[in-house]
């Protein structure tokens, strides 16, 4: 070889190939199966790992440089937010319910993705996806950490934040998100990538991060808006990874198509069920709204999702199996979830409330065919009870869906007056589901879903045996963190502090 040869100028693609693809080698002393033991068992056939396309070709030097710039901007904003009592800039402290729910449910999911992507970044047998997944792994720990740091300042002044670690593992509603991410992590590497990289990131995170974070900004919460958008700038890479991964699997072997279709069906449904919580955040928890859940769904779900599935049709991929059921549910779920959270508010580490007169006007306008007809009467009933000095609570324990772990509170897709309930018997036991979608997911892999840890039955078993006070201690739920917003310490403090800082 000719040393001191003047180097040619390499283009980005060529340079990236040399700097990553070319680092790996074909092992000859050990069998590939020993190094990558989990890459086959899901049945996905890969003939040529080098066919993997990297859309964003970040080498580490560029990664460090640009990510450091994002970090500097981000911490400058949250430092200023902490120093200047930025929490008093939010429109109304009831908004904090949304970010409590976020810290308890979504941030642990970011962490789980971090670990999951490290695993698949090790298990894939091609260096292209390995490096892409490792980069996502390190991004995801960034998201978990920036979220904890943003919430840390709210924790200093408000209830409901400080026990997020224990509540992640124990309180009933966080198992909705936890079971979703545990489900993905306990799957094989290819399914994990479809679950998180494709269904969650590509199809669904826009719904979580884009309109909701824009709403956070609109409600004066620059800390949350900033971590949201800053995280989403990494998501743009992650979504692209998810899409490339799915195209890669579909192009490698026609036998992969039905497997991938099955996973798309499953994870689209799982993701949509998880996002019903975001629906409630969008429609009920932002005091000033940017758009309704329905409007967000039309843009990021219908328009964008359809574009994606039209694109994938060339491989023979069909839109997700329960798409129509999701579409039918969009005008209902936020109301059903919020009514559920409100009636079980004694058991949540966040507050809920009945909609105000102006909330009701907005909801009527955004949900002209459903809100006034089906949900307003229930809210009016709750409001009347409150006005009569009572409280609208449901101390009965909700029956949880074995798959998504939400209470079975959704209605039949074609009959909003009828609660949906499905049952499947498996090895002599009866299992309950909130929907056809969740029942279908269970029936594909019952041996997996029978293992689910259901927090409600746990309350009845050792060591709690139905003792509600003991349960509250076990889940670190202090009475000040739960219940009606109107009577909360958070509201009283927020109003008092706002008064101190306001001048006419």
């Amino acid at each position: 070889m000719d040393i001191k040869k003047t180097p040619k100028k390499l283009n980005v693609k060529e340079k990236y190939r040399l700097m990553t693809r070319d680092l790996a080698w074909e092992p000859s002393y050990r069998d590939e199966k020993e190094i990558y033991p989990y890459v086959d068992y899901e049945g996905i056939k890969v003939h040529d790992w080098s066919k993997w396309e990297d859309p964003f070709r970040l080498t580490m030097d560029a990664y460090w440089k640009y990510q450091a710039e994002k970090e500097r901007k981000y911490y400058a904003i949250i430092d200023a937010h902490a120093q200047n009592n930025g929490h008093l800039n939010v429109t109304d402290a009831r908004y904090l319910t949304a970010i409590k729910l976020f810290l308890q449910s979504i941030s642990p999911g970011e962490y789980a993705s971090h670990r999951g992507f490290a695993r698949v970044g090790r298990e894939f047998a091609g260096v292209g996806p390995q490096v892409a997944c490792q980069m996502q792994s390190i991004d995801e720990i960034r998201h978990a950490q920036t979220q904890v740091h943003a919430m840390s300042n709210y924790n200093k002044f408000y209830n409901g934040f400080k026990d997020f670690a224990n509540q992640r593992d124990r309180i009933w509603y966080t198992s909705v998100a936890r079971s979703f991410f545990d489900d993905a992590m306990s799957a094989g590497p290819f399914e994990f990538l479809i679950a998180i990289g494709f269904s969650f990131e590509y199809v669904l995170t826009n719904l979580l991060f884009v309109p909701f974070m824009s709403g956070a900004a609109y409600n004066g919460d620059m800390a949350t808006c900033t971590f949201g958008f800053s995280a989403q700038s990494d998501e743009a890479r992650h979504m692209t990874l998810g899409l490339e991964c799915i195209k890669f699997m579909l192009e490698q072997d026609p036998d992969n198509i039905p497997i991938v279709q099955k996973w798309i069906d499953k994870w689209f449904w799982r993701g949509c069920r998880l996002l019903t919580l975001v629906a409630a955040m969008m429609d009920y928890m932002l005091p000033k709204r940017v758009m309704s859940w329905r409007e967000a769904w039309n843009i990021y779900g219908v328009e964008n999702g359809n574009a994606l599935f039209r694109d994938l049709a060339r491989y023979g991929i069909k839109p997700p199996m329960h798409w129509d059921d999701v579409e039918k549910s969009i005008d209902h779920t936020s109301h059903q979830i919020m009514l559920g959270l409100y009636q079980w508010k004694f058991g949540t580490a966040f507050h809920s409330w009945t909609p105000t007169a102006s909330d009701i006007e907005w909801l009527k306008e955004k949900y002209p065919t459903t809100f006034e007809k089906y949900y307003l009467p229930r809210w009016e009933y709750a409001i009347a009870q409150k006005e009569a000095g009572g409280e609208y609570n449901n101390f009965g324990l909700p029956k949880l869906c074995q798959t998504c772990q939400l209470p079975c509170l959704f209605t039949e897709p074609d009959d909003p007056t009828q609660l949906a309930h499905r049952e499947t018997e498996y090895e002599g036991e009866k299992y309950h589901f909130c929907s056809d979608g969740c029942q279908h997911v269970f029936e594909q892999e019952p041996e997996k879903y029978v293992q689910a840890w259901l927090p409600m039955p746990a309350l009845m078993q050792e060591p709690l045996k139905g003792d509600l006070a003991a349960w509250m201690e076990w889940v670190s739920l202090e009475p000040t963190a739960a219940g009606e917003y109107a009577n909360s310490e958070d509201k009283a403090n927020f109003e008092k502090w706002r008064k101190q800082v306001s001048t006419d």
Binding site: K4, L10, D61, S137, I138, R142
Partner: protein, 332 residues
């Protein structure tokens, strides 16, 4: 209405999150490292067993022979969380970028004696493949290790290894364009000097005990390789022969080794002091791997220096490694 939120002093309800208060009390506000690291991994009520290994838990401390009462004892003395890690590396990257520019603008490569360039080509460029293995091994530890304070630095370490492989690739492109990388890969795959190391790394990539991988990769192999290659051969031998330009381009590796060994040593020290059983396991791993990798690296050192001197340098590195092990409380 005017709101002037800066001026008021509001009394705080909580100093910190409960899980941090339990660990550190609430006298002091916890650091961002503590907030970002402790108890982030789910502990209880994991929903499903892995379909890829149903005998395991989703997070399973029993994947290792090492036992810890609390894996969160294994803190990183550098206190790296994503932000501090990234800002640090960005700064080092800026220095490296200007180093590359300096070497380029002063034509330092062209002015370098041929034997120096030959050593850079034969010894340094193939190492990028060893860094790839280290990247994979650290990714495994991050994925399957237990407890965030132990696993988190491993993803940073994995990405650092990728970064080092990329710095070496740039060096190769500077000294011999794409052909440099091709020749180095050929050496890695076929030449006698590299086969023992490649075989050992393929073996290590088959190990699934995350702590064993951590010890053998980050303590033993790197603990021999970096003092040997970067501290001795590059920064001494090559510099003496007119190869300062090479040393400038491997500055990141030299500094990175000095920085990260504080972390690696502290992890080992904490594990060893936990129990006699841990100590015995660590000693067994380190003893066998240190002897093995010392012999593996001998032909690699031989690419740069004559046989006798190679023996000498390798055994110096071996002694240095055992000194570190002793300081961490092992072998006594």
């Amino acid at each position: 209405m005017q709101i002037d939120v800066q001026t008021v002093n509001i009394e705080q309800k909580n100093q910190t999150f409960t899980h941090l208060k339990k660990r550190f009390g609430d006298k002091k506000i916890p650091s961002r490292y503590q907030e970002a690291s402790y108890d982030l991994q789910a502990e209880e009520n994991l929903h499903y067993r892995p379909t890829w290994a149903p005998e395991q838990e989703l997070y399973d401390p029993n994947l290792s022979k090492i036992r810890m009462n609390d894996w969160y004892d294994l803190k990183d003395p550098r206190q790296f969380y994503y932000s501090t890690y990234t800002l640090n590396r960005a700064k080092q990257q800026e220095t490296m970028e200007s180093n590359f520019k300096t070497v380029e603008s002063l034509n330092l490569i062209e002015g370098m004696p041929d034997p120096v360039l030959a050593v850079a080509q034969d010894l340094l460029i193939p190492l990028r493949h060893a860094n790839y293995a280290a990247n994979m091994n650290n990714t495994l530890v991050c994925g399957y290790g237990y407890g965030t304070v132990f696993t988190q630095p491993c993803v940073y370490h994995a990405m650092d290894n990728l970064g080092i492989a990329q710095y070496l690739s740039r060096l190769g492109l500077m000294i011999g364009d794409v052909e440099s990388l091709e020749a180095a890969k050929q050496d890695w795959m076929d030449s006698d000097a590299w086969q023992p190391l490649r075989r050992s790394l393929e073996d290590l990539m088959c190990v699934r005990d995350p702590v064993e991988v951590f010890i053998k990769q980050n303590f033993v192999l790197d603990g021999l390789l970096y003092p040997l290659v970067y501290q001795r051969i590059v920064d001494q031998n090559l510099v003496e022969q007119g190869g300062s330009g090479i040393s400038i381009l491997t500055q990141f590796m030299t500094n990175w080794y000095l920085e990260s060994k504080r972390w690696v040593d502290s992890v080992i020290k904490t594990m060893a002091s936990e129990s006699a059983e841990n100590k015995a396991v660590l000693e067994e791993w380190i003893d066998s791997a240190a002897n093995h990798f010392t012999s593996v690296l001998l032909p690699v050192a031989g690419l740069a220096v004559a046989g006798n001197q190679a023996d000498e340098l390798v055994s110096e590195a071996h002694d240095e490694l055992l000194q570190r092990a002793k300081k961490a409380g092992l072998f006594k």
